[in-house]
Amino acid sequence: MKPRSYLAALLVLTSVTFLTSCASTARKSTDDSGSAAAGVGPRDAKSVQTKEDDLDEYAASSVADPLEPINRVTFWLNDGIYRIVLRPLSKGYELVIPKVVRTGIYNAYENVKYPVRLVNNVLQGNLPGAGQETGKFLVNSTLGLGGILLQSDKFPALAHVPDVDTGQTFGRWGIGQGAYLVLPLLGPSTLRDTVGLAGDYALNPVTWVGVMTGGFLWTGSLDWTVSIPAVNTLRSLPEYMDNYDAATEDALDRYLAARSVYIQYRAEVISK
Protein backbone atom coordinates (compact mmCIF):
# COMPACT_ATOMS: atom_id res chain seq x y z
CA MET A 1 0.00 0.00 0.00
CA LYS A 2 1.32 3.44 -0.88
CA PRO A 3 1.67 6.12 1.84
CA ARG A 4 -1.25 8.02 0.29
CA SER A 5 -3.48 4.96 0.59
CA TYR A 6 -2.47 4.69 4.25
CA LEU A 7 -3.51 8.30 4.73
CA ALA A 8 -6.87 7.65 3.06
CA ALA A 9 -7.43 4.57 5.18
CA LEU A 10 -6.51 6.53 8.30
CA LEU A 11 -8.96 9.26 7.35
CA VAL A 12 -11.77 6.79 6.84
CA LEU A 13 -10.93 5.10 10.14
CA THR A 14 -10.89 8.38 12.07
CA SER A 15 -14.15 9.35 10.42
CA VAL A 16 -15.81 6.13 11.50
CA THR A 17 -14.45 6.43 15.05
CA PHE A 18 -15.57 10.03 15.21
CA LEU A 19 -19.05 9.18 13.99
CA THR A 20 -19.37 6.28 16.42
CA SER A 21 -18.26 8.37 19.38
CA CYS A 22 -20.72 11.09 18.39
CA ALA A 23 -23.51 8.55 18.22
CA SER A 24 -22.79 7.16 21.66
CA THR A 25 -22.52 10.54 23.31
CA ALA A 26 -25.56 11.96 21.57
CA ARG A 27 -27.82 9.25 22.87
CA LYS A 28 -27.85 7.33 26.12
CA SER A 29 -26.89 3.72 25.63
CA THR A 30 -29.93 2.17 27.21
CA ASP A 31 -31.39 -0.30 24.78
CA ASP A 32 -32.70 -3.50 26.24
CA SER A 33 -32.24 -6.66 24.26
CA GLY A 34 -32.60 -8.11 20.82
CA SER A 35 -35.67 -9.95 21.94
CA ALA A 36 -37.52 -6.75 21.20
CA ALA A 37 -37.45 -7.87 17.61
CA ALA A 38 -40.01 -10.53 18.32
CA GLY A 39 -42.97 -10.24 16.05
CA VAL A 40 -41.61 -7.15 14.36
CA GLY A 41 -40.37 -9.04 11.35
CA PRO A 42 -36.89 -9.76 10.10
CA ARG A 43 -36.51 -6.36 8.47
CA ASP A 44 -36.81 -4.64 11.82
CA ALA A 45 -34.68 -7.10 13.71
CA LYS A 46 -31.47 -5.14 13.26
CA SER A 47 -32.99 -1.78 14.03
CA VAL A 48 -34.27 -2.82 17.41
CA GLN A 49 -30.87 -4.22 18.34
CA THR A 50 -29.16 -0.87 17.78
CA LYS A 51 -27.00 -0.32 20.85
CA GLU A 52 -27.33 3.46 20.97
CA ASP A 53 -31.09 3.42 20.88
CA ASP A 54 -32.81 5.33 23.62
CA LEU A 55 -36.03 4.01 25.10
CA ASP A 56 -36.61 7.22 27.03
CA GLU A 57 -36.20 9.41 23.98
CA TYR A 58 -39.72 10.75 24.28
CA ALA A 59 -40.19 11.85 27.85
CA ALA A 60 -43.75 11.59 29.09
CA SER A 61 -45.94 14.68 29.34
CA SER A 62 -44.11 17.82 30.35
CA VAL A 63 -46.91 19.76 31.98
CA ALA A 64 -48.06 19.85 35.59
CA ASP A 65 -51.66 18.73 35.88
CA PRO A 66 -52.59 19.06 39.56
CA LEU A 67 -56.22 19.68 38.63
CA GLU A 68 -56.51 16.51 36.53
CA PRO A 69 -59.70 15.20 38.23
CA ILE A 70 -61.51 18.53 37.66
CA ASN A 71 -60.00 18.92 34.20
CA ARG A 72 -61.22 15.45 33.22
CA VAL A 73 -64.77 16.32 34.27
CA THR A 74 -64.66 19.58 32.25
CA PHE A 75 -63.17 17.66 29.32
CA TRP A 76 -66.01 15.14 29.24
CA LEU A 77 -68.63 17.88 29.68
CA ASN A 78 -67.06 19.77 26.75
CA ASP A 79 -66.97 16.56 24.75
CA GLY A 80 -70.71 16.10 25.31
CA ILE A 81 -71.48 19.72 24.38
CA TYR A 82 -69.35 19.38 21.23
CA ARG A 83 -71.17 16.19 20.26
CA ILE A 84 -74.70 17.34 21.01
CA VAL A 85 -74.61 21.07 20.22
CA LEU A 86 -71.48 22.44 18.57
CA ARG A 87 -70.71 19.72 16.02
CA PRO A 88 -74.26 19.72 14.59
CA LEU A 89 -74.09 23.54 14.54
CA SER A 90 -70.75 23.39 12.74
CA LYS A 91 -72.07 20.83 10.22
CA GLY A 92 -75.17 22.96 9.65
CA TYR A 93 -73.04 26.04 9.02
CA GLU A 94 -70.93 24.09 6.51
CA LEU A 95 -74.06 22.73 4.83
CA VAL A 96 -75.98 26.00 4.54
CA ILE A 97 -73.19 28.47 3.77
CA PRO A 98 -71.14 27.80 0.60
CA LYS A 99 -67.41 27.31 1.13
CA VAL A 100 -66.43 30.45 -0.72
CA VAL A 101 -68.65 32.56 1.57
CA ARG A 102 -67.36 30.77 4.68
CA THR A 103 -63.78 31.47 3.62
CA GLY A 104 -64.65 35.15 3.08
CA ILE A 105 -66.22 35.42 6.54
CA TYR A 106 -63.26 33.64 8.10
CA ASN A 107 -60.75 35.92 6.37
CA ALA A 108 -62.65 39.10 7.32
CA TYR A 109 -62.64 38.18 11.03
CA GLU A 110 -58.97 37.25 10.88
CA ASN A 111 -58.22 40.60 9.26
CA VAL A 112 -60.05 42.46 12.03
CA LYS A 113 -57.85 40.67 14.61
CA TYR A 114 -54.93 42.77 13.34
CA PRO A 115 -54.41 44.63 16.69
CA VAL A 116 -53.80 41.25 18.42
CA ARG A 117 -51.01 40.44 15.98
CA LEU A 118 -49.59 43.97 15.82
CA VAL A 119 -49.35 44.47 19.61
CA ASN A 120 -47.89 41.01 20.19
CA ASN A 121 -45.30 41.38 17.47
CA VAL A 122 -44.23 44.67 19.08
CA LEU A 123 -44.22 43.11 22.56
CA GLN A 124 -42.04 40.30 21.23
CA GLY A 125 -39.64 42.86 19.77
CA ASN A 126 -40.43 41.59 16.27
CA LEU A 127 -40.67 44.86 14.38
CA PRO A 128 -40.34 43.28 10.91
CA GLY A 129 -43.27 41.04 11.88
CA ALA A 130 -45.27 44.10 12.97
CA GLY A 131 -44.47 45.71 9.62
CA GLN A 132 -45.56 42.60 7.71
CA GLU A 133 -48.80 42.46 9.69
CA THR A 134 -49.48 46.13 8.92
CA GLY A 135 -48.79 45.57 5.23
CA LYS A 136 -51.03 42.52 5.24
CA PHE A 137 -53.83 44.42 6.98
CA LEU A 138 -53.64 47.34 4.53
CA VAL A 139 -53.55 45.12 1.44
CA ASN A 140 -56.41 42.88 2.59
CA SER A 141 -58.55 45.76 3.84
CA THR A 142 -58.30 47.58 0.50
CA LEU A 143 -57.56 45.16 -2.36
CA GLY A 144 -59.16 42.34 -0.37
CA LEU A 145 -62.44 44.24 0.07
CA GLY A 146 -62.45 44.62 3.83
CA GLY A 147 -60.43 41.50 4.44
CA ILE A 148 -62.80 39.10 2.67
CA LEU A 149 -60.18 38.15 0.07
CA LEU A 150 -56.69 37.15 1.17
CA GLN A 151 -54.89 39.30 -1.38
CA SER A 152 -51.73 39.56 0.74
CA ASP A 153 -50.77 35.98 -0.26
CA LYS A 154 -50.05 37.35 -3.74
CA PHE A 155 -47.14 39.35 -2.31
CA PRO A 156 -44.26 37.02 -1.39
CA ALA A 157 -43.17 39.31 1.50
CA LEU A 158 -46.64 39.12 3.04
CA ALA A 159 -47.48 35.47 2.39
CA HIS A 160 -47.32 32.95 5.26
CA VAL A 161 -46.74 35.49 8.04
CA PRO A 162 -46.76 33.40 11.26
CA ASP A 163 -49.67 34.02 13.60
CA VAL A 164 -48.91 35.48 17.04
CA ASP A 165 -50.90 35.66 20.26
CA THR A 166 -50.54 36.94 23.81
CA GLY A 167 -49.86 33.53 25.39
CA GLN A 168 -47.02 33.11 22.88
CA THR A 169 -45.63 36.52 23.89
CA PHE A 170 -45.61 35.45 27.56
CA GLY A 171 -43.83 32.24 26.55
CA ARG A 172 -41.20 34.18 24.58
CA TRP A 173 -40.65 36.37 27.63
CA GLY A 174 -39.71 33.22 29.50
CA ILE A 175 -42.90 32.88 31.54
CA GLY A 176 -43.57 29.20 32.27
CA GLN A 177 -46.79 27.55 31.11
CA GLY A 178 -48.06 26.84 34.64
CA ALA A 179 -50.66 24.19 35.33
CA TYR A 180 -52.70 22.55 32.58
CA LEU A 181 -56.32 23.70 32.48
CA VAL A 182 -59.35 22.57 30.53
CA LEU A 183 -61.60 25.59 30.09
CA PRO A 184 -65.34 25.19 29.77
CA LEU A 185 -66.25 25.16 26.05
CA LEU A 186 -62.83 26.52 24.99
CA GLY A 187 -60.99 23.31 25.87
CA PRO A 188 -57.24 22.73 26.50
CA SER A 189 -55.16 25.58 27.90
CA THR A 190 -52.58 26.38 30.55
CA LEU A 191 -52.51 29.04 33.23
CA ARG A 192 -50.26 31.19 31.04
CA ASP A 193 -52.37 30.70 27.92
CA THR A 194 -55.60 31.46 29.79
CA VAL A 195 -54.21 34.86 30.82
CA GLY A 196 -52.98 35.21 27.23
CA LEU A 197 -56.47 34.44 25.97
CA ALA A 198 -57.82 37.32 28.06
CA GLY A 199 -55.20 39.54 26.37
CA ASP A 200 -56.24 38.35 22.91
CA TYR A 201 -59.85 38.95 23.84
CA ALA A 202 -59.14 42.51 24.99
CA LEU A 203 -57.14 43.29 21.85
CA ASN A 204 -59.74 41.91 19.44
CA PRO A 205 -62.02 44.61 17.95
CA VAL A 206 -64.84 42.05 17.83
CA THR A 207 -64.88 42.32 21.63
CA TRP A 208 -64.87 46.13 21.46
CA VAL A 209 -68.14 46.06 19.49
CA GLY A 210 -69.97 44.67 22.51
CA VAL A 211 -68.20 46.89 25.04
CA MET A 212 -68.77 50.10 23.07
CA THR A 213 -72.48 49.42 22.76
CA GLY A 214 -73.07 48.89 26.45
CA GLY A 215 -71.71 45.46 27.17
CA PHE A 216 -73.07 42.08 26.25
CA LEU A 217 -76.46 42.56 27.83
CA TRP A 218 -79.18 40.79 25.92
CA THR A 219 -81.35 43.50 24.41
CA GLY A 220 -84.15 41.24 23.31
CA SER A 221 -83.39 41.42 19.62
CA LEU A 222 -80.68 39.69 17.61
CA ASP A 223 -78.88 42.87 16.62
CA TRP A 224 -75.33 43.25 15.40
CA THR A 225 -73.83 43.52 18.92
CA VAL A 226 -74.85 39.90 19.35
CA SER A 227 -74.52 38.64 15.80
CA ILE A 228 -70.95 39.87 15.21
CA PRO A 229 -69.45 37.86 18.11
CA ALA A 230 -71.83 34.96 17.34
CA VAL A 231 -70.67 34.70 13.73
CA ASN A 232 -67.09 34.94 14.99
CA THR A 233 -67.68 31.79 17.04
CA LEU A 234 -69.48 30.05 14.21
CA ARG A 235 -66.79 30.75 11.62
CA SER A 236 -64.14 29.14 13.86
CA LEU A 237 -66.21 26.06 14.70
CA PRO A 238 -65.47 23.77 11.71
CA GLU A 239 -61.70 24.21 12.13
CA TYR A 240 -61.89 23.73 15.90
CA MET A 241 -63.99 20.58 15.55
CA ASP A 242 -61.61 19.15 12.93
CA ASN A 243 -58.61 19.80 15.19
CA TYR A 244 -60.39 18.30 18.18
CA ASP A 245 -61.31 15.17 16.23
CA ALA A 246 -57.79 14.81 14.81
CA ALA A 247 -56.33 15.03 18.32
CA THR A 248 -58.68 12.57 19.97
CA GLU A 249 -59.59 9.90 17.39
CA ASP A 250 -57.49 6.75 17.65
CA ALA A 251 -56.51 7.79 21.17
CA LEU A 252 -56.11 5.32 24.01
CA ASP A 253 -57.07 8.07 26.47
CA ARG A 254 -58.73 11.04 24.78
CA TYR A 255 -58.02 13.41 27.67
CA LEU A 256 -54.29 12.65 27.66
CA ALA A 257 -54.14 12.75 23.86
CA ALA A 258 -55.73 16.22 23.73
CA ARG A 259 -53.39 17.42 26.48
CA SER A 260 -50.28 16.10 24.73
CA VAL A 261 -51.29 17.61 21.39
CA TYR A 262 -52.01 21.00 22.97
CA ILE A 263 -48.78 21.16 24.99
CA GLN A 264 -46.60 20.05 22.05
CA TYR A 265 -48.31 22.45 19.66
CA ARG A 266 -47.93 25.44 21.99
CA ALA A 267 -44.26 24.61 22.61
CA GLU A 268 -43.76 24.65 18.82
CA VAL A 269 -45.61 27.97 18.43
CA ILE A 270 -43.38 29.58 21.09
CA SER A 271 -40.12 28.15 19.75
CA LYS A 272 -40.79 29.14 16.10
Binding site: V40, L252, E268
Partner: protein, 194 residues
Protein backbone atom coordinates in the same frame (compact mmCIF):
# COMPACT_ATOMS: atom_id res chain seq x y z
CA UNK B 1 4.11 19.77 10.46
CA UNK B 2 1.38 22.18 11.45
CA UNK B 3 0.37 22.45 7.82
CA UNK B 4 0.12 18.66 7.59
CA UNK B 5 -2.10 18.57 10.68
CA UNK B 6 -4.31 21.31 9.29
CA UNK B 7 -4.60 19.45 5.99
CA UNK B 8 -5.49 16.26 7.81
CA UNK B 9 -8.11 18.06 9.87
CA UNK B 10 -9.58 19.76 6.81
CA UNK B 11 -9.75 16.41 4.98
CA UNK B 12 -11.50 14.76 7.91
CA UNK B 13 -14.06 17.58 8.06
CA UNK B 14 -14.62 17.45 4.31
CA UNK B 15 -15.01 13.69 4.37
CA UNK B 16 -17.56 13.92 7.19
CA UNK B 17 -19.46 16.52 5.22
CA UNK B 18 -19.54 14.24 2.19
CA UNK B 19 -20.64 11.19 4.21
CA UNK B 20 -23.44 13.20 5.88
CA UNK B 21 -24.51 14.78 2.60
CA UNK B 22 -24.60 11.37 0.88
CA UNK B 23 -26.67 9.86 3.71
CA UNK B 24 -29.03 12.81 3.71
CA UNK B 25 -29.60 12.49 -0.02
CA UNK B 26 -30.21 8.75 0.33
CA UNK B 27 -32.67 9.28 3.23
CA UNK B 28 -34.49 12.06 1.40
CA UNK B 29 -34.78 9.90 -1.70
CA UNK B 30 -36.14 7.03 0.37
CA UNK B 31 -38.72 9.32 1.97
CA UNK B 32 -39.78 10.75 -1.38
CA UNK B 33 -40.29 7.25 -2.75
CA UNK B 34 -42.35 6.34 0.33
CA UNK B 35 -44.49 9.49 0.12
CA UNK B 36 -45.03 8.99 -3.63
CA UNK B 37 -46.16 5.42 -3.05
CA UNK B 38 -48.52 6.53 -0.27
CA UNK B 39 -50.02 9.25 -2.49
CA UNK B 40 -50.53 6.87 -5.42
CA UNK B 41 -52.25 4.43 -3.03
CA UNK B 42 -54.51 7.22 -1.68
CA UNK B 43 -55.36 8.38 -5.20
CA UNK B 44 -56.29 4.87 -6.34
CA UNK B 45 -58.34 3.96 -3.30
CA UNK B 46 -62.00 5.02 -3.36
CA UNK B 47 -62.83 4.90 0.38
CA UNK B 48 -61.27 5.34 3.80
CA UNK B 49 -61.74 1.76 5.04
CA UNK B 50 -59.90 0.28 2.08
CA UNK B 51 -57.24 2.97 2.33
CA UNK B 52 -56.09 1.69 5.72
CA UNK B 53 -55.79 -1.87 4.32
CA UNK B 54 -54.04 -0.75 1.15
CA UNK B 55 -51.57 1.44 3.02
CA UNK B 56 -50.43 -1.35 5.35
CA UNK B 57 -48.00 -3.10 2.94
CA UNK B 58 -46.68 0.26 1.71
CA UNK B 59 -45.97 1.61 5.19
CA UNK B 60 -44.47 -1.67 6.36
CA UNK B 61 -41.78 -1.20 3.73
CA UNK B 62 -40.76 2.25 4.90
CA UNK B 63 -41.69 2.57 8.58
CA UNK B 64 -39.93 0.94 11.53
CA UNK B 65 -42.94 -0.03 13.62
CA UNK B 66 -40.68 -1.91 16.05
CA UNK B 67 -38.73 1.24 16.96
CA UNK B 68 -41.95 3.27 17.10
CA UNK B 69 -43.63 0.87 19.53
CA UNK B 70 -40.63 0.64 21.88
CA UNK B 71 -40.22 4.40 22.04
CA UNK B 72 -43.95 4.95 22.52
CA UNK B 73 -43.87 2.58 25.50
CA UNK B 74 -40.61 3.96 26.91
CA UNK B 75 -38.39 2.37 29.59
CA UNK B 76 -41.25 0.08 30.68
CA UNK B 77 -40.54 -1.90 27.48
CA UNK B 78 -37.78 -3.76 29.35
CA UNK B 79 -40.43 -5.45 31.48
CA UNK B 80 -42.27 -6.85 28.43
CA UNK B 81 -41.81 -10.53 27.62
CA UNK B 82 -40.99 -11.59 24.07
CA UNK B 83 -44.63 -12.41 23.34
CA UNK B 84 -45.90 -9.22 24.96
CA UNK B 85 -43.50 -7.18 22.80
CA UNK B 86 -44.80 -8.94 19.70
CA UNK B 87 -48.42 -8.33 20.64
CA UNK B 88 -47.90 -4.66 21.55
CA UNK B 89 -46.07 -4.06 18.27
CA UNK B 90 -48.85 -5.75 16.27
CA UNK B 91 -51.59 -3.55 17.77
CA UNK B 92 -49.52 -0.36 17.69
CA UNK B 93 -48.76 -0.95 14.00
CA UNK B 94 -52.50 -1.09 13.26
CA UNK B 95 -53.08 2.13 15.23
CA UNK B 96 -50.28 4.06 13.50
CA UNK B 97 -51.41 2.94 10.03
CA UNK B 98 -54.98 3.98 10.82
CA UNK B 99 -53.89 7.35 12.27
CA UNK B 100 -51.78 8.05 9.18
CA UNK B 101 -54.53 6.95 6.80
CA UNK B 102 -56.95 9.39 8.44
CA UNK B 103 -54.72 12.28 7.42
CA UNK B 104 -55.32 11.42 3.77
CA UNK B 105 -58.49 11.92 1.81
CA UNK B 106 -59.22 8.99 -0.52
CA UNK B 107 -59.21 10.05 -4.16
CA UNK B 108 -57.48 13.36 -3.38
CA UNK B 109 -53.83 14.21 -3.56
CA UNK B 110 -52.25 16.86 -1.33
CA UNK B 111 -49.38 18.94 -2.67
CA UNK B 112 -46.16 18.26 -0.75
CA UNK B 113 -43.00 20.38 -0.78
CA UNK B 114 -39.81 18.88 0.64
CA UNK B 115 -37.47 21.25 2.47
CA UNK B 116 -33.78 20.93 3.33
CA UNK B 117 -33.10 17.95 5.59
CA UNK B 118 -31.05 18.16 8.77
CA UNK B 119 -29.06 15.51 10.63
CA UNK B 120 -29.63 15.91 14.39
CA UNK B 121 -27.35 12.93 15.08
CA UNK B 122 -25.39 10.44 12.96
CA UNK B 123 -27.74 7.92 11.41
CA UNK B 124 -30.69 10.22 11.93
CA UNK B 125 -32.29 12.60 9.48
CA UNK B 126 -35.21 15.00 9.81
CA UNK B 127 -36.99 16.08 6.65
CA UNK B 128 -39.43 19.00 7.00
CA UNK B 129 -42.20 19.19 4.44
CA UNK B 130 -45.11 21.53 3.85
CA UNK B 131 -48.41 20.02 2.90
CA UNK B 132 -51.14 21.89 1.08
CA UNK B 133 -54.35 19.96 1.55
CA UNK B 134 -57.76 21.33 0.66
CA UNK B 135 -56.60 24.96 0.99
CA UNK B 136 -54.85 24.43 4.34
CA UNK B 137 -51.09 24.64 4.73
CA UNK B 138 -49.32 22.70 7.47
CA UNK B 139 -45.86 21.42 8.28
CA UNK B 140 -45.04 17.74 8.56
CA UNK B 141 -41.56 16.65 9.62
CA UNK B 142 -40.47 13.07 9.03
CA UNK B 143 -37.82 11.53 11.27
CA UNK B 144 -35.81 8.77 9.64
CA UNK B 145 -33.16 6.50 11.08
CA UNK B 146 -30.69 4.18 9.50
CA UNK B 147 -31.67 0.65 10.35
CA UNK B 148 -31.22 -1.71 7.40
CA UNK B 149 -31.79 1.20 5.09
CA UNK B 150 -33.54 4.39 6.07
CA UNK B 151 -36.83 3.97 7.89
CA UNK B 152 -39.39 6.44 9.19
CA UNK B 153 -39.48 6.40 13.01
CA UNK B 154 -41.75 9.39 13.71
CA UNK B 155 -44.05 11.85 11.99
CA UNK B 156 -44.35 15.33 13.51
CA UNK B 157 -47.39 17.36 12.37
CA UNK B 158 -47.32 21.08 13.29
CA UNK B 159 -44.86 20.32 16.09
CA UNK B 160 -46.92 17.40 17.43
CA UNK B 161 -45.02 14.13 17.43
CA UNK B 162 -47.07 10.99 16.86
CA UNK B 163 -44.80 8.96 19.13
CA UNK B 164 -44.65 11.56 21.93
CA UNK B 165 -48.44 11.70 21.89
CA UNK B 166 -48.80 7.93 22.31
CA UNK B 167 -45.97 7.91 24.85
CA UNK B 168 -48.01 10.11 27.23
CA UNK B 169 -50.95 7.75 26.96
CA UNK B 170 -49.02 4.48 27.14
CA UNK B 171 -46.97 5.71 30.10
CA UNK B 172 -50.19 6.22 32.05
CA UNK B 173 -51.37 2.72 31.09
CA UNK B 174 -48.05 1.18 32.10
CA UNK B 175 -48.15 2.88 35.51
CA UNK B 176 -51.69 1.60 35.95
CA UNK B 177 -51.08 -2.04 35.20
CA UNK B 178 -47.73 -2.82 33.55
CA UNK B 179 -47.37 -4.54 30.16
CA UNK B 180 -50.81 -6.16 30.32
CA UNK B 181 -52.58 -2.79 30.72
CA UNK B 182 -50.59 -1.38 27.79
CA UNK B 183 -51.48 -4.32 25.54
CA UNK B 184 -55.13 -4.25 26.60
CA UNK B 185 -55.53 -0.56 25.82
CA UNK B 186 -53.69 -0.93 22.50
CA UNK B 187 -55.81 -3.90 21.42
CA UNK B 188 -59.01 -2.11 22.46
CA UNK B 189 -58.15 0.88 20.29
CA UNK B 190 -56.85 -1.20 17.39
CA UNK B 191 -59.99 -3.34 17.35
CA UNK B 192 -62.28 -0.29 17.29
CA UNK B 193 -64.11 -0.01 13.95
CA UNK B 194 -62.17 2.04 11.41
Amino acid sequence: MNRCLLLLLASVILLHGKVTAASTVEAEQRLKTAVDEVLVTARNTPNGKELTDNLRPVLQKYVSFGVMTRRAVGPGWRQFSKDQKAEATKHFTTLVIRTYARKLTPGKEPSITFKAASAPAPGRIEVPTTVLNDGSNYTVTYRLEQAEGWRITDVVIEGVSLIANYRTQLDAQFKKGGPNAVIKSLSRSADRPK
